[in-house]
Symmetry: C2
Subunit: 210 residues, 2 copies
DNA sequence: TAATTGCGGTAACATTGGTTACATAGTCAT
DNA sequence: ATGACTATGTAACCAATGTTACCGCAATTA
């Protein structure tokens, strides 16, 4: 655990803090598809991501979802932080997009470390800043762009976080993430294929040139 | 300034912190319509709102705007905080919705206070939490609701922050905030009038029963 | 192999909301 | 009062996308 922690966080946390993390943190491995947090749940610990990708979703009244953003190595869930501190319920759902390794930190330490370690404070603020910017970009994409452009952005991001240009999802799954219907996605993907941007197959899709 | 500070923040900040704020803070009065922050600007100080309302906007490529949320008494701009700390550019525009009184805190103090005062840390985290939740609600409203429902929510919120059921705006101004066109707003408002929900006039609109 | 299920392709249609154009009616300055 | 300007009302049209329905094919299972 120490090595993996150092690899992801060694350059941002002070040695004393790294030691404390090793002492109080719990190492966890999460399989792809595992639901790590549900809307309305209370949160008792905060995750530091070592490897893998977590997708964060928002839900409407009918239970349909919208992808907000991905969390990656070296990041944490800001929403969890404030939920922990304020004893608030989660506003979002989090699901492992890939197999994921992380370290869980008990709530109590957060307050303490914020007072004690400058590097922790920076991490926390940086984290909020990044998350807010990602929310703003998601908002931009919904408010300012049309579905074809949103789909393209989605595929580009998906390729980036999974580090492969083959996407193994059904059209229905993509439609869920973008909060639209399968027919709409199939229609747009087919158009992209005709333009030579992607290659389509059953349960997969290959990015050629977006 | 001390009295006004105590009225808005007395119950959340420790006495020592209140003293420091009085010493290093600058009191400011801002007229309605004043642009307090522009996208791309660097920020050198952080506002603590004493009275009034500030509206926070996001802009698309063409320069058209979308209302994100309002800041009120006892609140601060979380985006400013991280911008200050990280020397980042602002991602948003802020405009005084009403005449506003506030205290500006120089950046340098923020880091210091975060280590020193528990009440400041709580305020900062609480602030992030609120802002993220407002962003999520804005996102919900754009992603999950149609324009008629968004307009209704907008009017309710406007009535709340301005504390009056008469809204002195043109349809064009409302359309800007909701990132749509004047014709669409006129159409929907007329329908609401026919349902007896509002009363329409030139440059004003009265809420009857939303 | 036959049956079932899940995925993707496609057509037809409905709805929302954006666009253009023009008319009407307040408001203000002269 | 006249003319200029601004706000609003409204019709007609268009584009994006959501909806429904049905088909064929692949994969899985009986």
């Amino acid at each position: 655990m120490i090595n993996q922690l150092k690899e992801s966080y060694g350059h941002i946390f002070e040695d004393g803090l790294l030691d404390e993390i090793v002492q109080v943190g719990t190492f966890k491995e999460i399989p792809e598809g595992f639901k790590m947090m549900e809307i309305g749940e209370y949160v008792k610990s905060m995750p530091l991501l070592i490897s893998g990708v977590i997708k964060v979703l928002r839900e409407d009244n009918e239970g349909d979802e919208l992808l907000l953003y991905y969390l990656e190595k070296g990041e944490t869930c800001s929403m969890t932080m404030t939920c922990c501190l304020g004893q608030k319920q989660s506003e979002i759902r989090a699901i492992a997009e890939t197999d994921t390794k992380l370290i869980m930190i008990p709530v109590g330490k957060m307050e303490e470390w914020t007072a004690k370690y400058k590097s922790w404070r920076n991490f926390v603020f940086e984290s909020y800043h990044n998350r807010i910017n990602e929310l703003l970009m998601t908002l931009d994409s919904i408010a300012f762009y049309q579905m074809d452009e949103r789909l393209t952005q989605y595929l580009i991001e998906k390729v980036r976080v999974n580090d492969t240009d083959i996407i193994n999802n059904t059209h229905q799954e993509i439609a869920y993430d973008l909060y639209t219907s399968r027919v709409v996605i199939s229609r747009l993907l087919k158009k992209m294929e005709q333009l030579g941007k992607i290659e389509l197959g059953r349960n997969y899709l290959k990015i050629i040139n977006l």
